[in-house]
């Protein structure tokens, strides 16, 4: 399994596929590959990123490797019985830069969450109706520009109006992470993808 983890962390797709084949030939079950391979790689990355060496390119290569494994193991998507809670994710209206959001989506999926992606340039209304329809436990919103802040500040009130105030709101991205949760009126501001993931993992334990 360590060879698979190393290949994931190197972002080397051909080695990832080769190591994955070796494991499946040995009848290692997909759940074990997810838990001991993908999740271990994510943990390693989590530790590395927490010591101030985070860059988008490196994370993109790892997430591409992770997606390759998940698609190989579950061409139709992971069985719903194995999934944790549902998270709705979006880059908000007026913002089309969504690499960060796509990475968060993959990391959350790799850790077993069901993720509904509302895409980029997403309105608050679409975000909230999607959360309602999918019984989401959290909304992850991101943005690179400060112009979206007024929209972020409205989300909790809109959720409350729909009797959805139990849904947690997590904000991230260059513009939003400059601000405090109080200013943005959200439950949590994530400094990095792993910070957001750790927040969700803590909620799962409660």
């Amino acid at each position: 399994m360590q060879d698979l983890i190393d290949a994931i962390l190197d972002g080397d797709i051909s080695r990832v596929l080769s190591e994955l084949r070796k494991l499946t030939v040995q009848d290692i079950r997909p759940e074990q590959i997810i838990k001991n391979g993908i999740e271990s790689a994510v943990e390693f990355l989590n530790d590395k990123c927490s010591i101030d060496s985070f860059n988008l390119l490196e994370i993109m290569l790892v997430t591409r490797a992770i997606m390759t494994i998940i698609q190989e193991l579950y061409p139709e998507g992971p069985p719903s019985s194995q999934l944790k809670s549902t998270i709705v994710i979006a880059t908000l209206e007026g913002n089309i830069h969504d690499i960060g959001k796509n990475i968060v989506k993959i990391i959350l999926k790799a850790k077993g969450y069901r993720v509904i992606d509302c895409g980029k340039d997403c309105s608050n209304e679409h975000l909230i109706s999607t959360a309602q329809q999918n019984s989401a436990s959290a909304l992850f919103v991101s943005g690179l520009i400060t112009s979206i802040i007024p929209n972020v500040q409205k989300i909790k009130d809109l959720l409350e109006k729909e009797n959805l105030s139990h849904i947690k709101v997590v904000a991230g991205g260059a513009a939003l992470k400059m601000a405090s949760p109080e200013f943005l009126k959200v439950d949590y501001v994530a400094e990095t993808v792993f910070d957001g993931l750790n927040y969700m993992e803590q909620l799962q334990k409660v």
Binding site: L56, G94, N95, T146, A174, M178
Partner: protein, 335 residues
């Protein structure tokens, strides 16, 4: 001493009458003039008028002939969508396929897209304020333009999967940057800031910067000096600490540091470069003038002995910045 003389002194680590202050007022100039941002960004005359009005209101040391980060990619064929109160969105990237690179030619800044509008703004600003106030233009650095041509995700994967093609795109972007910068200088800017946010260590690791971008940025700054740029200025936002040592070899005179960066560390790592920064941009929305004054005074104190410093925000001032906060920063250099 006027603003230009002051900045020249400070860039050369000589004594000036006071520390220069550059508020990075770009689109905010439209907001304070009650002009819709989409109109501002498509009309060089309006840019100049709003920049002049903002300068009269705030009295800082520089104005900007600068539209947004989509000017070059639009000139090369990207399709944009303009909305009233936000910067434009790229709806379709210029380069659908990297094999198309050979069919792309360097755009003519006098004709392509909104490049002529930026040149128009530069000319008016130079004629109106340019004897006393620094007129700054803007060109995207090669990494940022490459990402704007392909879309960031595709461009970054290309860097790993096909580094030769990626390098070709960077070289093409260098040519675009140089040609646009040269035309801006001819039109009247004293210097164009080279805006390269995609080269931040938040996006790429430091060795990538060293291998792919250092030599290309060196080439750009060499060319700018050859055509008489008053000084050279590199602007990379985000957590740039890991690449600060490379800044010494770029040929840039002024470097921008964002709010993430410890100013003392930047001083130590770049002892001979003029530093511009680094109040947190969001503070201009969330804080009070007294807070901005305190932050400004702290920075002025940190750089007092060293010199080579321009008081500024870490990046662009948000559109919704409170005018009283910008005034507080500007006043702090005069008290």
């Amino acid at each position: 001493m006027n603003s230009i003389e002051r900045i020249i002194k400070v860039v050369g680590f000589n004594q000036a009458d006071r520390v220069p202050v550059i508020a990075q007022v770009f689109g905010h100039a439209a907001v304070v003039a009650n002009v819709p941002l989409d109109e501002y960004l498509q009309d060089g005359g309006l840019v100049a008028r709003c920049q002049i009005d903002a300068w009269e209101q705030y009295d800082y040391d520089s104005v900007f002939a600068l539209l947004d980060v989509c000017v070059e990619t639009e000139a090369l064929g990207s399709r944009l969508e303009f909305r009233k109160d936000i910067y434009p969105l790229i709806k379709k990237y210029a380069m659908a396929d990297t094999s198309e690179i050979d069919s792309f030619s360097i755009p003519n800044p006098k004709k392509a897209g909104r490049m002529p509008e930026l040149l128009k703004a530069a000319k008016i600003l130079r004629n109106t304020l340019g004897k006393e106030v620094l007129v700054v233009g803007c060109a995207l650095g090669p990494m940022t333009l490459t990402l704007q041509l392909l879309g960031a995700e595709r461009a970054l994967y290309l860097a790993i999967d096909d580094p030769d093609t990626f390098s070709g795109l960077l070289d093409f972007s260098v040519e675009v940057c140089v040609k646009f910068s040269v035309e801006q200088i001819k039109a009247g800017v004293h210097l164009p800031v080279i805006f390269e946010p995609a080269a931040s260590p938040a996006v790429i690791p430091a060795p990538f910067f060293r291998e792919f971008l250092l030599p290309r940025l060196q080439k750009i700054f060499r060319e700018l000096k050859n055509v008489g740029s008053l000084a050279t200025w590199l602007h990379i936002a985000g957590p740039t600490t890991p690449i600060l040592p490379y800044y010494n070899d770029l040929g840039a005179d002024i470097i921008n540091i964002d709010y993430y960066i410890d100013p003392s560390e930047a001083q130590n790592k770049c002892p001979n470069l003029c530093i511009n920064g680094n109040i947190k941009p969001l503070s201009f929305i969330t804080e009070k003038p007294s807070d901005i004054k305190t932050m400004s005074k702290t920075l002025l104190g940190l750089f007092k002995k060293r010199g080579g410093y321009i008081l500024s925000s870490g990046c662009e001032l948000p559109l919704e910045s409170k005018p009283e906060n910008i005034k507080a920063m500007v006043l702090s250099v005069r008290e």
